[in-house]
Subunit: 364 residues, 4 copies
């Protein structure tokens, strides 16, 4: 079935498998007049690209994007933008061995169950490479958000149980883990080396903060802004949890503490605190959006694991190949992209909420 | 904008405000031939109805449902089912006072910002009464799931920081909190009385377990089963977090622990553990679905709070009216309904995944 | 499946059968601030109501609409508007006889084939009464279009082969056939009496003209304005053809004749002719939209017809009951409603087409 | 906005402009296990390719398709299929001249109005080349329909007022016009040469017949099978009218003639005639689907035409370049593709209509 499209007005459709000819996205509903070119999109892709340091897969691909439509003389034209990255480093021989058994923590088994067979050369659509399409599309959304003064800050909040205790924005892109805390980054490095020696992998938590958003974005009831963000984030492979504002901590709080008081701040109505994480009733309330995303340890590990063949025969396996011991730092870029897609769509949809403003729009 | 519809093939549209004439839902795409009548749906609604014990709002409404279409001689006909509950106990005079200021933790402010004005008589669409439509629609989905041998078990996992330590299924409907642990229920009762005396409210965590699901439900990439469940749950007012399987705990786990080994169990391929919570690559894997939902403390409290008037004038307020000190036990029923809606839709969509089965279906 | 919802941002869901408890619609995505009340909607419903003259069914129903949500103090609030008309004059005994056989020209057979059984009391969802929901929802859209200076004029162009040769706008609501030509109306009356004496029915053509539309509405490729109008009109029961501008006549024209020259009209770019019917490339071009809709003769006739029972036994039948010998005049109101739904949705969607205008919208 | 996606479960997204890098489609929701490869798709594309005879544009492009994803070892895998045709023969210098003025009968003006500017190198998304994506996607749908024994026959019914009077299926692909009548083809050839000498173009009517369809496809009310077909066909550039069965002729018919009697044909319930064109109440009734589509004369003609510059300055123009004097024969292939897309989607959606069959499906 059709699960490869995301969004209502700003709508992204992705395609491509890890070991096919390439990966891509078609972004439809892009407003005309956004400055965009391949260099701009490439900058976003480079941030998620593997092979950048000792803690990511050594698979070396340039992931070079090509724009095939929808951009003319450096600006979006309003028609669909086709983005494409050809696969280079396919190494499908690495994967032939895995064709016969089900890798623990992977989607091999469920793909077989759903479709009756699968492309056994690798993760296919459930490979991390699928996120190339998301990031390329998200780049366009990010550029659009910039025009409106909206910014998204995403970083690792915690890796392998080691939490960033300080916040230095400049640190984020300076260490291999995208942690805003230099000391935490050092601890993570030591811990990760230990785990890599054990042929194991670790997980972590990503935090995403959005500033400058107009009030009232998101739709009451089913299309709440936080509901759409939750879906966007949980649709990223390896994500197992999502929370908004204080998140799970609200379960142990009290109403008198958790409610954010409204105040008059320089003539503007604002909230004194932000336990809610920037949404009330599913609509943006003028405070920063704050969300956290839990990412599981990379399932591909070289440690011996128990599993079965397609016919049920048990066996012990060691997953070879080049895999990230931690995917959190690269997933940071994907989280940012997904947030941008949700917010752009919400901005477009929200324009139809008031008859007076619609009349004003058309009476020009 | 249109945010009141949920689902692709099995599609629910809800309507109605807390202080309007009524609340309802239209359920479209219901397969023909499901046994249903008003009594069946009423049983689900009665479980979420207020006024049943000392720990819910004393607002006394029968919430009597009427089926207006789509059911003939006790069975669904395939055409849309209109469900309606008329409001009885509106007491809008209770609310007149709140028209001028913004209640902390409520959507008053964001509604005003989005639409330019609002129905000041109460929570409107962001009232808990909105969930009547979800539960009525979910009742039909639940009855359909029963036909397929699928069951959903939902209960309070933790309230005010007090966690259920034992699991006795029969306990769930025996205490006011839908906790599966009698002792925990007693502790919660004591704690809640204390908080009520302080005019305060508490939050909690709901757990939802789905058994008997076919393998392969959910669509890769954006429409993953867990992504759609996350959206469904986060769209419930007061929900601030969602996790699947081990959820946020994966952030501190290792691949070798978090990966569930595949085993051969009586000739069937199964998972030895269920850290994943029943989904791999966004598709059901044959294990139980396990998810947890964080619910914030009721924002309406009688304790004095700081806020502002619509013009920004600061003031201190005490929210009067009849409010639940804890909404977790009633939200349990809403969580169950939303899970049922997502699963029913996934079951219908999944039928189109294999050409061989489609041919078989039509060749009869 | 879910086929009862129409529209993307301005979205209508209808429900109800001819012989159930009632008929209704939920209109979601209505911009806040449109003046609306039950009297306004009733005026539109009264125009489609049966029993108004000798040439419509004598079924006498008031079709009284009730607004259940989404309107507060005479204005839309932005939340879904539930509209409901309870059925009064059900006379289901009239229909018991038809339960066993398939009425020619009706959907009895296809309903049985699709769903395995059907509500045998009447046409169910394929009854003309289903259009009540469309007209009630369309009334809101029409009121919104008025705010923007957009008007829709709909009338019978031809009935039983007798064509309106002159056009007098005031005539339309003065004769039973909604013909803009008094003389043609007289001829139709005579012809129809003749056909009624023969227990037969006739068809006709409806014309719909939209003035005052902004340029650029509609989306290139699949969501062209004329494509969406075609779907809207063909979804009305009994409609068998749709054409835009010169329509089928283009098949016999030449490019040099059919192309509309652009001219400079008082400093504005306009078209000198309007063979295109107001759309170029699927987008409104500033000229009036002109479309025509072919309506088949009422299938329910009292003349003897051949058919079969559900088990295949042949028999001759005479359809009793109260049926319109011509449904064109009442369908005029439905065509107007459907046009209004499509245009309102197109207006809302179109607001997201230009980045510069979006920035302007949000920078206020 | 997002108008480049078609379908609900079987969903096609197209991209690409006439003078960009290429044209393509992503087909999502394709059932796994359909035999497909580039050769199969190329056969469909070759039928719509230009330059095949004296009566189409002499633009010579191979329109070579590449499958980039979703197919493995000759079968669809269930994941999205990306199809791509790179543009070769762009000749954008031919078009520079037209940048400044609005071609009559083209979408230049409406694109400018909607988006604020446009890709002035050619028709962009409103070029006939856009249909490459439709045909490539339709090829997959056609192959799927074959598996179910469903066939689509499409041909020119009438060109320049000359109608096919006889029907010989084998003739269709033997003449340049895809007419099923050799004599008519000869007349059309003579007429067309005359018109070409006058630098003019002509239109025509396409007929499409679908056989072997299961009963009950299509959804009552808004998603009627004929409504979706109407949208599909009217979304093809240059199409101005659509009719089902007797179409516009019903307007002059009587109920007693137009109603198709049900009969018992060899133990099966069937219709004695097929005025309805194979749909009753918007659902397939077991008879052949019969529809006709009106196509306007090619707007690009070398005859002098009046128009204006973007600033309103009037001028006379002669459209140079290589254009089809008649697009009907090539549009035949596009009509077939669009029919296949609608029917495939309807087949998938229809599987969810009966609870008993769903239970049977899952109980295996």
């Amino acid at each position: 079935m059709a699960g490869s499209t995301f969004g209502t007005l700003f709508r992204v459709t992705t395609w491509g498998e890890s070991h096919g000819k390439g990966i891509g996205a078609v972004v439809d509903g892009v407003p005309a007049g956004i400055p965009i070119n391949e260099e701009v999109i490439q900058r976003y892709l480079n941030r998620r690209r593997p092979g950048q340091n000792a803690f990511t897969t050594q698979r070396k691909e340039k992931d070079q994007v090509e724009i095939l439509s929808g951009v003319f003389e450096g600006k979006t034209t309003g028609t669909p933008i086709a983005l494409e990255v050809r696969n280079e480093d396919q190494h499908s021989h690495d994967y032939k061995e895995i064709a016969g058994y089900y890798r623990p923590g992977h989607a091999d088994f469920t793909f077989d169950e759903k479709y009756g067979f699968r492309d056994y050369r690798g993760g296919g659509r459930s490979s991390g490479r699928e996120t190339i399409g998301r990031v390329a599309a998200g780049a366009i959304a990010c550029e659009f958000l910039k025009m409106l003064g909206i910014s998204i800050l995403t970083y690792s909040r915690e890796i392998g149980g080691i939490r960033a205790e300080t916040f230095e924005k400049d640190q984020i892109e300076r260490n291999a883990f995208r942690l805003p805390d230099e000391l935490a980054a050092e601890k993570v490095e030591a811990y990760l080396k230990e785990k890599m020696a054990e042929c194991d992998s670790v997980g972590g938590i990503i935090e995403c903060i959005v500033s400058g958003l107009p009030k009232g974005l998101g739709e009451p009831v089913f299309d709440k802004l936080d509901a759409n963000l939750a879906k966007a984030m949980m649709s990223i492979g390896a994500v197992k949890g999502f929370e908004m504002g204080d998140g799970f901590a609200v379960a142990r709080s009290c109403g008198s503490v958790n409610n954010d008081a409204f105040i008059n701040k320089d003539g503007q109505i604002a909230k004194d605190t932000n336990h809610a994480g920037g949404v009330l009733g599913g609509m943006s309330d003028g405070s920063d959006l704050v969300m956290r995303i839990a990412v599981k340890p990379t399932p591909s590990i070289a440690k011996t694991q128990h599993t079965v063949m397609q016919d049920g025969t048990p066996l012990d396996v060691v997953i070879k190949g080049r895999h990230d011991p931690i995917i959190v730092p690269r997933a940071v870029v994907v989280v940012e992209a997904m947030a941008a897609l949700v917010l752009t769509d919400a901005l477009l949809i929200n324009m139809s909420s008031r008859a007076d403003r619609i009349c004003e729009y058309y009476k020009k």
